[in-house]
């Protein structure tokens, strides 16, 4: 219809440039138009006096406008309007036809594989149509780009799709070849995370349009798919961990499914979930124990449901590096207290934490426990960086601020801010506001604004209650089921004492409240500060949770172990290695980053940092990381994991012969797995790609026009062609329409 009215295809108007081919200057046309319009206006005005009574007011103006419009259109036609468009020269240009040959093309759509559908499209006239005008280069686009002679060579068996890389390669080939356009037949699933801006920019620079034809279901069939799992890459041995598993489904809304977590076939956790409505992302938290120290591969899966079309996307893998080393926490207590004893007892079974304590038993004597050697803390609280920074976390009990020198106070601040340690302040008769902490420079570390007054510590009972943030926190998770956990907290015995700690600061998380008399006050508040974290526990009477519950009850132990682990587990070492992606799907390229700190935990660049990588089949490699010139303390290296399998990288920093520190990183390359995910057609990607490069996303029913349309391109060998517009039926219809309207109006107004 469009072409019937406008004589040319939409592409001509979209890509062409409007020109007037008439030999006379345009200003003559404008002048003539103005003169004629003026003449018409004068004539109508002159006759207005004798005109029937129906022609008055705005009506003569409407008649004048209609007549002038016709004059303007006629004048425009006299100046020979046209669309100037670049068109590929017949038989001199190449059209690159890229066909997705990855395994996702072997999925079926209405009983036929996507690969077969693509081959059918090509062989049912599309290739023949193109060959009449262009030379055709047929490519298999998958993990690599490969030229093929016939569509029959397509197998849909390649493990991955990297559309961006394939297009980039075609773009670079177009520098030496007259490639006029690219045609891409694909389901749009791409394993490298989409098509990067560089590729789009390169295609645009070469003015190379990409025309896309989509395959695959736009609305997925019955399926469950795990789309993501969020899990910390490292943990302490025996830690309780939480994994956030995100998934969605189609066709099973409201049904139950079983979500499981396995390691080496052993079930670590499993839970039944009720499936959300079709297509809606759903996230469930799975709690599990990290177990013993080792590099672990954790397998998350949803049990397949009956009639599920694709069961390969029901599971995914994440790596977890469970570290063997002990975390050391220093607990400074200002006076013998039951809380001190019971925290020590609660922690005693936790082999991953070493709780070093110093207790002021008398004014001049300190009782030290779990020290490494007789010299440790012999002089009291650490006064030097290397002493304090040797710990991963610090607990300060009923200790007045004045016990610490100014230098020690600054050290505590740097311990949290720079070293990245955890700080926990406990309530007590010399603690927090009672001990003068409210006015100190350390007050900024705390997650609460301490009241600037005394008499905040009360030896009166208070009962703890879980807040919404606490319900989500691993610190307060006593029972895995959230509802049962909340119930458990409601039944906890009361605390022996409490302290008013003021208002939580913005950004702080109140994990527990307490009710004391008629008042509701924050009990446990946490926040991140600098590289570390801080918390305030507004009671020193949790020991009653131990003494007043049945002997076999582990609530008190569990709570304190989880709180201490939270406090110490994320404290970084002097070398911290990281990579943006631990799981490498089909693409082995790996970006390694190491952050290096000196003894004072200031960024250090004066060291040699190398990664010793061990991989599958005895693979071993050494990679040197180079310092980042703009970010002191950061080192980078790029490496490629060529073989699928698990890798372990030990990142070692040395200054001369002295070892500065080391860290361990695990990653895994999996080939052919990502293809099972997002198996519906990614129409959005195909449409965007076409729109950004000047091409078009083609519907199946329009493909017969593609060979003609694809010719409008500025790439390759082109010729500029003028497409005349004067003979467009639409213009004549327009003139007829205007004149008809004028005639009808004149009839109505009695001017005929």
């Amino acid at each position: 219809m469009f072409e019937l009215l406008f004589q040319h295809s939409p592409s001509v108007f979209a890509k062409g440039e409007f020109v007037l081919l008439g030999s006379m200057p345009v200003w003559v046309m404008v002048l003539l138009g103005l003169l004629i319009a003026g003449g018409l206006g004068w004539a109508i005005r002159a006759r207005l006096a004798k005109a029937p009574s129906g022609v008055s007011g705005v009506r003569p103006v409407i008649l004048w406008a209609l007549q002038s419009t016709v004059v303007a259109v006629v004048l425009l036609l006299l100046w020979n309007p046209a669309m100037m468009v670049s068109e590929l020269k017949p038989q001199q240009n190449i059209v690159a036809v890229l066909v997705d040959d990855s395994r996702s093309m072997s999925l079926t759509d209405d009983g036929k594989t996507l690969r077969d559908r693509a081959v059918a499209v090509l062989e049912s006239g599309l290739l023949a149509g193109l060959e009449k005008k262009f030379q055709i280069r047929l490519y298999r686009a998958a993990d690599t780009l490969q030229r093929i002679a016939s569509p029959q060579e397509l197998t849909a068996a390649r493990p991955a799709t990297r559309l961006g890389d394939s297009l980039k390669q075609v773009a670079s080939e177009s520098a030496g070849l007259p490639i006029g356009a690219v045609m891409l037949l694909s389901d749009g699933s791409d394993n490298s995370g989409g098509i990067d801006l560089d590729t789009i920019a390169e295609l645009r620079n070469r003015r190379l349009p990409v025309h896309t034809i989509g395959f695959g279901k736009l609305k997925p069939g019955r399926d469950l798919e795990i789309s993501d799992v969020q899990l910390a890459p490292r943990a302490m041995a025996d830690s309780r961990l939480a994994a956030q598993v995100t998934f969605f489904q189609h066709g099973y809304a409201g049904q139950k499914a079983k979500l499981s977590l396995r390691e080496s076939g052993k079930v670590l956790a499993s839970q039944n979930v009720t499936l959300a409505p079709d297509g809606r992302m759903q996230t469930e938290t799975m709690l599990f124990n990290a177990g013993t120290a080792a590099a672990k591969s954790l397998h998350f899966s949803l049990e397949p449901l009956s009639g599920e079309e694709n069961q390969f996307n029901n599971s995914t893998t994440r790596l977890l590096n469970v570290e063997a080393g002990k975390r050391r926490i220093l607990y400074v207590e200002g006076e013998p207290r039951w809380e001190f004893k019971f925290i020590r007892r609660a922690h005693q079974d936790d082999r991953s934490i070493q709780l070093v304590t110093m207790l002021r038993t008398t004014q001049n004597k300190i009782y030290r426990q779990d020290i490494d050697n007789p010299a440790e803390l012999a002089e009291g609280f650490p006064g030097r960086v290397e002493e304090l920074f040797g710990y991963h976390a610090l607990i300060i009990g009923s200790v007045e601020l004045g016990y610490f020198t100014s230098a020690q106070q600054e050290l505590i601040r740097q311990f949290v801010d720079r070293r990245g340690g955890g700080l926990l302040l406990l309530a007590g008769r010399a603690a927090l506001s009672e001990g003068g902490w409210a006015k100190s420079s350390l007050a900024e570390l705390l997650p609460v604004s301490l009241p600037d007054r005394k008499a905040t510590f009360h030896r009166e009972p208070a009962t703890a209650s879980l807040t919404p943030a606490g319900a989500e926190s691993l610190i307060c998770r006593l029972v895995e089921d959230p509802a049962r956990n909340a119930e458990r907290w409601k039944k906890m015995p009361h605390l022996m004492d409490f302290q008013e700690i003021g208002e939580p600061k913005p950004g702080a998380a109140v994990l527990m409240d307490m009710t004391a008399g008629q008042r509701k006050l924050p009990l446990l508040v946490t926040q991140n500060y600098g590289r570390g974290r801080s918390a305030v526990m507004a009671s020193s009477g949790t020991w009653r949770w131990q003494m007043s519950q049945p002997l076999e009850d582990q609530t008190h132990e569990m709570f304190w172990q989880q709180l201490l682990r939270w406090l110490a587990s994320d404290t970084p070492g002097r070398v911290v290695a990281s990579t943006p992606r631990q799981m490498l799907f089909d693409d082995g390229r790996l970006a390694l980053t190491a952050e290096l700190r000196d003894k004072n935990y200031l960024p250090a660049s004066d060291a040699r940092v190398e990664a010793r990588i061990l991989g599958p089949e005895g693979l071993a490699a050494q990679v040197e990381l180079t310092p980042d010139a703009s970010n002191p303390g950061l080192f980078h290296a790029d490496w490629a994991a060529e073989k699928p399998g698990s890798y372990l990288a030990e990142i070692l920093a040395k200054r001369g012969d002295e070892e500065v520190g080391r860290d361990v990183l695990t990653f895994q390359r999996q080939d052919g797995v990502a293809e099972n995910f997002r198996t519906g057609q990614n129409r959005e990607l195909l449409e965007k790609l076409a729109a950004q490069t000047g091409g078009r996303y083609w519907q199946m029913e329009e493909l017969n026009k593609l060979p003609g349309e694809i010719a409008y391109s500025e790439a390759g060998i082109t010729v500029r062609q003028a497409k005349p517009l004067w003979s467009m039926p639409a213009i004549f219809l327009f003139i007829l329409l205007v004149k008809a309207v004028e005639w009808i109006l004149r009839r109505r107004w009695g001017v005929v």
Partner: protein, 248 residues
Amino acid sequence: MFAFQRGFRSFLEEEDNPAPFPVDGLEKTEFVFARLRYPMMRNGYFGRAGGSWATDYPKADRQFVQGVRRLTRIHTRSTEQVVDLDSDEIFNWPWIYSTEVGRWDLNDRQVKRLREYLLKGGFMMTDDFHGTFEWDVFIASMQRVFPDRPMVELDNKEAVFHVLYDLDERFQVPGIQMFFTGNIYENDGIEARWRGIHDEKGRLMVAICHNMDLGDAWEWADHPRYPEKYASLAYRVGVNYIIYAMTH
């Protein structure tokens, strides 16, 4: 289990050696010297005066905690708290002192509660029982409490003898009876025995002072005839036991 901690309890009629009630006797503190009130053999709770549980009560308690206050940073109440094993109230008091345990007679429920108390983290110091007969009574009841845990001699390596004071040189601490008998021992308890019961992690739960009378030493520390060396050791032992109980 969910009841709040009870306040000071007075047993005036059972006091063995009355002492003035201090002005701050009702202060709420971290540590309170809790004395165990137990049923006595044959006579129930009420034997002579009040009962053997009340021996030296309350003067010894109040005089000792004055020392605890002066010598340590422990926030200590100036008065004792009398507790028993007949209710869960005892779980609010993680330290208990029991005297003359060679005369006690615990029933099954009390035995069970004492076992739970100690395994949860409570600490018991026993004192002022002497000789073979009283030892046999005590050990018979403690074997009902802990049939699975041995009673052992505490040597000088025990942390309890070093938490504050180094108490390698320990000797028998006699009771006031020595003024009358001239002996520093009672019955056939000639040799002071420092014994204890540990939990499975090696923590001392029960400190057993057999053939000595630390309670008397606290009680009569202000007596001009009572030798200072005995009172001094009794205080230091008591303080060490409390600090141990609050750290292990």
